[in-house]
Symmetry: C3
Subunit: 137 residues, 3 copies
């Protein structure tokens, strides 16, 4: 504990450059914060990022994969996630979202993260955005 | 500090099972995160959770009680809360919400938590959702 | 690490009294949380707080200055920021907001904070609200 921990940007190779001066994720000491992720497919050089599908399922799975990549880049996993913030655009999506969420997280062995789900506006074409706070063990 | 802290799910007896694979709260080391709580009354076996009242006052007080139960389950209290996130559905509720909030928190002896209040969509019948981040002393 | 860290309220002299029992910011140990800030100009005694301008640029720069004042009050800086939450009211503001954000943060030497941007309702006249979580080195 005598040396100051550095703040490290977490930038998976699959991710496009953020559209502004922020990091996809940062880690400092045992705290890891993942920025809001959406359903963009893997970065293609010279192309603007686009969501993987118009549907909630495809976008949710891709969004979760994008969060996962950042956790891994920082030496963490979903088991370390303390809080997952979910932003949907339509309350009618809640039940389907939960089905997808539960299927995705069947592998969890530790207590699942806490979660808050609220309904907001997102840029056109996006149905879901997710960020996460992790505390490494 | 030599042993890795475990992540523990915080599940007060009064709470219904979450509608998806998330925890009402989690604690790991000195960090405690409470999931988004709403004004659901105490769990009744075999019944779907319902808000305690149609009004902002009843729902807010129940929501705060639900957050409180999770903090306590994790060995914490409101005095440890660093951040309280408040989601309302109508900007016209801000003044009344603050009145209720101030009455509720008269007991605080330490600095009150920081707070962010924004206006979002919530499932039908819900007027308020609150989550909290606490750091234990 | 033998003494329990105290929770300290961070109240810059420029800030008006919060409209409810919350702190503009709190620090406990190495964790600093800034409450949701908006584009209110410096406090004038006896006057209700008002946003500095009707436009996104003025409000954003003032909001960032207000967050900055709280970070400094807690002995931190933007270099310590892990997460910046941005609440806008209109998806049409995203591009202009990012321009202003990038100009503002040109001085950063460490990895920029992670960020989540969502579109919510805010009280009349407000176009942007920002909060931040920092971990001190």
């Amino acid at each position: 504990m005598s040396e100051k921990p550095a703040k490290t940007a977490l930038t998976p190779a699959t991710h496009t450059t953020p559209p502004a001066k922020f990091s996809h994720g940062v880690r400092k000491g045992n705290i890891l914060q993942v920025a809001g992720q959406v359903g963009f497919g893997p970065a293609v050089e010279g192309q603007a990022p686009t969501p993987v599908g118009p549907g909630l399922r495809e976008q949710t799975l891709q969004t979760l994969a994008n969060v996962d990549a950042i956790l891994k880049e920082g030496g963490a996993s979903w088991e370390d996630a303390m809080m997952i913030r979910v932003y949907l655009t339509d309350t009618a999506h809640f039940a389907e979202f939960n089905e997808i969420y539960n299927e995705y997280f069947t592998f969890l062995q530790q207590a699942p993260a806490a979660r808050t789900t609220v309904y907001v506006g997102l840029p056109a074409g996006l149905l879901v955005e997710i960020d996460a706070l992790a505390v490494l063990g």
